[in-house]
Amino acid sequence: MKKILFFTLVTILSFTANAQITSVHLQASGLTCSMCNLSIKKSLEKLPFVASIKPNVEKATYDISFKTGADVSLAEIQQAVVKAGFSVAKLKFTVNAASATNVSSNGFELNGFSYNLVDAELANIATEQTFMVTDKGFLSDKEFKKFKLKNKALGVAKAFNITKA
């Protein structure tokens, strides 16, 4: 009995572990110096769900991987860059398709966060699908203008406008 319970638990846990954003690729704006770049990396490292960060100092990009099973908040990632004194120019995230719920042509839900596709219909999510957030604060001002009218007013940090990347 205990064994069954244990295996059920392991199955649930591994399912939860899969129900995740698997990685984030972000580009920061407003900087060219390595000191500024390091400030952003240190600010991102403070987030409890971040496992590791691979920075590219020249391009000011960061490839972020996450702790297994942790709830990833894209809003907190964006805020960490702002707290360091800079902005997000681009944020792409990759999801594990198996974990998405309420999948419709307009988007999906993942771990209590909802994602609204702004410009393409979603027939089905590939096993590993990458999206880009199109909300204000997640793009440079220039790029944001392209999505301004397409974005839905979601207004909460638990819902994001996205496009296929």
Binding site: T32, S34, M35, K42, A60, K142
Partner: protein
Amino acid sequence: MKKRSLTALLLGCLFLHGQSQELFVFTEPASNMAKGNLGLRLMASSMKEAVGSEYNNHLMPELMYGVNNKLMVHLAAFISNRNTSFVTEGGSLYAKYKFLNNDDVQSHFRMAAFGRYSWNNADIHQQEINLIGHNTGFELGMNATQLLHKWAFSAGISYQQAANNGSKYEFPSSESNKAMYYTLSLGKLMLPKAYTGYEQTNLNLMVELLGQSLLSNGKSYLDIAPSVQLIIHSKMRIDLAYRKELYSNMIRTAPNGLVLKLEYNFFNVY
């Protein structure tokens, strides 16, 4: 000889390519430190007295802290041997609030408002109002900084008002205790040509123009200050600058000299 070649090389770079980025020696940019970061700074200056061959040596240890992404504060102490041996003559509290932030990839335009209160118990010995280690008083101002890839430009304007230096030294009523202070700074990142990591030493070259006009008598000065800056391991800063008077019709005790600044940054202190 080595020193001379190094100076020649650095000056050569300055004239060939221009200057460094926005972490200037004599002025603060409109950008702030990251929230929760702590910076420790030590500034040492050796300024030659205009009359005679004496040097005024000043030390200024400074603590800097990023309260949030918009507000940062500095606390500094002024130590000098201008009169006797090294003694602490005063201190200052500085705060800067960034109210405009336009970021783009590898560029930004930012504006900030700042205020400083300084106190000092040394004698008042010149017409120049200097809230960094000489006068008690306050300063209110604004600055704007543009970063464009490897270049940075910054301009600032502030109102300064001096008061008595403690109970012992009154501010002379015959002199102007109010001034406008103007700054213009240019900087350029020279090295590395391309970043491969945080361990690379950055070389920045800068030049700053610093001017003051006394409001009651119209007297003014204008200084130029070229500097070389090294950033080591993306955490530590070493600046070496030379401040030189270009023009002045006011009494200044020691306007020309060398300034060395060391800074170390601690990330996510709180």
